[in-house]
């Protein structure tokens, strides 16, 4: 498969894409999806699984940095898996997204250093736990924002840091309820006949 070095010119630039995948809730499916990336030596920047707006339907958010051509092919490989209902890909402009970060810092430092307090305010951090020995703060936002606070806290003895995967909502999506109804029919209507991408050759799995 020509996944590496796609023809120059057409969609040749690598950028961040967020995949939204609706699936059945099935053991083993995570692995089936993960190996689609690892087989092609593509790094997954972030992966989140969660329930969706529909009971019994699971939702994956996967972030990768690749060319659109590659992302489109990956989406088709993902959709090909039996228990996958639908895979979409979007650029950052097309989604609203957040990542959650937790920071553990020594309580005495915060208590004493005025700068730290100012930093926390600036980054909109909230205290989740306050103990004698340490305090845990939480922020959410884009990567640069959570990253910025680590940098700022490092000189003051950041004890522990963790960041969640990206969760994303597609701006133009009207949800999955109607699509699912169609999928449940023996003869789905043309809107989910998945030939839709043939109509818009360039916007295959986008909404």
């Amino acid at each position: 498969m020509e996944f590496k070095n796609p023809p120059s010119g057409v969609r040749g630039m690598k950028k961040e894409f967020t995949l939204t995948v609706y699936t059945e809730n099935q053991i083993g499916l995570l692995n089936r999806i993960a190996i689609i990336f690892s087989r092609r030596k593509i790094n997954v920047d972030s992966l989140n699984t969660s329930p969706s707006e529909i009971e019994s339907v699971h939702r994956f958010n996967i972030v990768i940095t690749e060319t659109e051509d590659v992302v489109k092919k990956l989406c088709r490989q993902i959709e090909k898996q039996v228990e996958v209902l639908k895979a979409y890909y979007n650029t950052n402009e097309e989604i609203i997204w957040q990542e959650l970060a937790l920071y553990k810092v020594p309580t005495n430092v915060i208590a004493e250093k005025v700068v730290v307090e100012r930093l926390l305010r600036k980054y909109g951090a909230r205290a989740v736990v306050i103990r004698n020995d340490y305090t845990v703060f939480e922020t959410s936002g884009h990567r640069e924002e959570t990253e910025g606070l680590i940098k700022a806290l490092e000189p003051y003895g950041l004890i522990e840091f963790v960041r969640s995967a990206r969760v994303a909502i597609i701006k133009s999506s009207s949800g999955f309820h109607d699509k699912l109804k169609e999928f449940e029919q023996l003869q789905p209507g043309e809107s989910v006949a998945e030939n839709e991408y043939l109509n818009e050759r360039d916007k295959v799995f986008t909404m």
Binding site: V82, F183, P188, E194
Partner: protein
């Protein structure tokens, strides 16, 4: 047991239930799905199923193979010859891991299989129990779907799902791993219902006429249209629809090795084989046509050669059932997503009746060149030692093109695909995408069970035959009538050819010794003969074909013969070499 099978005849699910074991439920599923033949090998973790099988002897024929790889290749041969699902049993651990090559082969060649593996008791999962391997994770990349059952009540619905997935859409292998406790577990069984629909799986796309109309427009305007077809035509059972399409549109058509035999070799519009060792004309003219119509094929690199020099001048129409294939390797102008059994008749309706005689003439001219420079000498050699091509030529005269040919992998495979004549579909069984040496002998066993009324000839090299030669035991025990033709060039020929052409003849470990095959066959009670003189060829082949039952014939052929034409790796199809 009797009662259960009878109950099956009754429509759908009755509210009457019977208490049966998980193992019985597996076998009841087979019967409901029309399975008659199972290829397998027992072991600890699948013993409850084998115990149940003891009582189903009348309804299910179990063929004990000599190695699980042999079992799965046999199931593949069965599926390819019959169009039905091939079924395999293997035990946990080594039994299951021995299936992996066959699963990968079936996955890449879209062969419908349902494999059942035994697994350790559910409470032992993850404890490194005796013969425990993580079969689901090992086989995930090489199955269309797989699933582990730990509770017997799941068996009827999971089996129904397995058969549905294996044989619909683009077919493929399914593996069901069943823990021993589930096989033993008794449960209230209320009958078996076949699966017809799964909301997360859409095997059959809706046919969109708009695209077919656009395709027809392109085809009608084309001066030099060219059809290339693959196994999709056979898997879709669309041979007639395909033939009607090319006959009405008058378009020359060439095949991938898995598509071969969909229409007769002698059809006037059949212009031969594509790809690395394919025919000269279809390779060269791929880069000359104006509209390329790809039907049920996936632009494998062995077919396309160098992609950035592949049919760049042409508008491309791609008919395929699998949307992931569209634009995967070759960017197409018009995609026609669908089952070609449905899309082709619509297309045929819309295309104008034409005959592209001038264009076809071009194929004829280049074919003549190939005949003069390659084919004639290969089939009528001036050398004392025989060539593979002449063996095939004589074989064609004797079979009339009516046999099923099961080839292994290497030079003999390419020569066989190039020269064997076929009159009927589902007659060329070979490992295409994976190129699995050792495939032929067991696959031929399966093919014979899949098409018992037909002559089955396996053609193998001296390398490949030794990879699964243990299956002679299966042939002996089950009296399987397969004809085994070994083309012995005393080398791992195809690798030797590459070493000669590309590594300055540095023959690195391609010199392979053979046992006395006739003696080996004799030990298995299979008659055989070895010949090295041309004068004996026809007689020996007739003897093989006329013999009732299995027969092994070894033909000693030239040691350093090469297969030509050849598109060297990394070259364009139009850079195909005749020598």
């Amino acid at each position: 047991m009797e009662t259960l099978a009878i109950q099956k005849e009754q429509p759908a699910v009755s509210n009457k239930t019977t208490t049966i074991s998980g193992s019985q439920a597996v076998l009841e599923a087979f019967i409901a799905e029309g399975v008659e033949t199972i290829f397998g090998y027992p072991g600890g973790a699948i013993m409850p199923i084998y115990d149940a099988l003891y009582d189903y002897n009348e309804k299910l024929k179990h063929i004990l193979v000599r190695h699980e790889q042999g079992g799965i290749h046999a199931a593949q041969g069965f599926a390819r010859a019959s169009g039905k699902v091939g079924v395999v049993f293997a035990t946990s651990g080594p039994g299951a891991t021995n299936l992996v090559t066959g699963l990968a082969d079936a996955q890449i060649d879209s062969t419908p299989l349902v494999c059942i593996t035994g697994q350790v008791f559910a409470h032992l999962l993850g404890t490194d129990a005796f013969q425990e391997t993580d079969v689901i994770n090992i086989t995930t990349p090489v199955t269309k779907w797989n699933y582990q059952i730990t509770d017997a009540t799941e068996i009827p619905s999971v089996m129904a799902k397995a058969f549905h997935i294996a044989q619909t859409g683009r077919p493929g292998p399914v593996l069901i791993d069943i823990t021993k406790n589930a096989q033993l577990q008794k449960f209230e069984y209320s009958g078996y219902t076949k699966m017809e629909h799964l909301r997360s799986y859409r095997p059959k796309p809706i046919v969109r006429k708009e695209y077919i109309e656009q395709a027809a427009k392109l085809i009608n305007a084309a001066q030099k249209p060219f059809v290339i077809w693959g196994q999709g035509v056979i898997l879709g059972g669309a041979e007639k629809e395909f033939q009607a399409f090319i006959e009405k549109s008058g378009i020359p058509a060439a095949w991938t090795i898995l598509g071969e035999s969909a229409i007769p070799t002698s059809h006037p519009l059949n212009v031969g084989m594509l790809g690395m060792h394919g025919n000269y004309a279809p390779n060269v003219l791929t880069n000359d046509c104006d509209v390329l119509i790809a039907i049920g094929m996936r632009f494998d690199d062995r077919v396309t050669g160098r992609l950035d020099k592949y049919a760049k001048q042409a508008q491309i129409i791609h008919l395929d059932i699998d949307p992931a294939e569209i634009d995967k390797n070759v960017k197409v102008t018009i995609p026609v997503w669908g089952d070609c059994k449905e899309t082709l008749p619509v297309l045929t309706e819309l295309v104008e009746r034409k005959n592209h005689s001038q264009w076809l003439q071009k194929f004829k001219e280049l074919e003549q060149k190939e005949v003069e420079e390659v084919i004639f000498e290969e089939q009528n050699p001036s050398t004392e030692i025989m060539t593979m091509g002449e063996v095939i030529k004589v074989m064609n005269e004797l079979t009339g093109g009516n046999a099923i040919i099961v080839t292994d992998v290497g030079q003999h495979q390419m020569v066989a695909c190039r020269y064997v004549k076929f009159n009927q579909t589902r007659s060329n069984i070979t490992s295409g995408g994976l190129g699995t040496m050792g495939f032929a002998l067991p696959a031929a066993i399966g093919a014979k069970f899949g098409a018992p009324e037909r002559t089955v000839i396996t053609i193998a090299g001296d390398g490949g035959i030794q990879m699964t030669i243990q299956e002679l035991g299966t042939i002996m025990q089950n009296e399987v009538d397969v004809k085994i033709l070994i083309l012995n060039n005393h080398f791992l020929g195809m690798v030797r050819q590459w070493q000669q052409l590309f590594n300055d003849k540095r023959y690195s470990f391609v010199d392979i010794a053979s046992p006395d095959y006739v003696t080996v066959a004799k030990a298995y009670n299979i008659p055989g003969r070895s010949i090295s003189n041309r004068a004996d060829l026809k007689d020996a082949l007739s003897e093989m074909l006329n013999h009732k039952g299995a027969y092994l014939l070894e033909v000693i052929v030239g040691k350093e013969n090469n297969v030509f034409p050849m598109v060297p790796q990394g070259c364009s199809v139009s850079e195909i070499r005749l020598k």
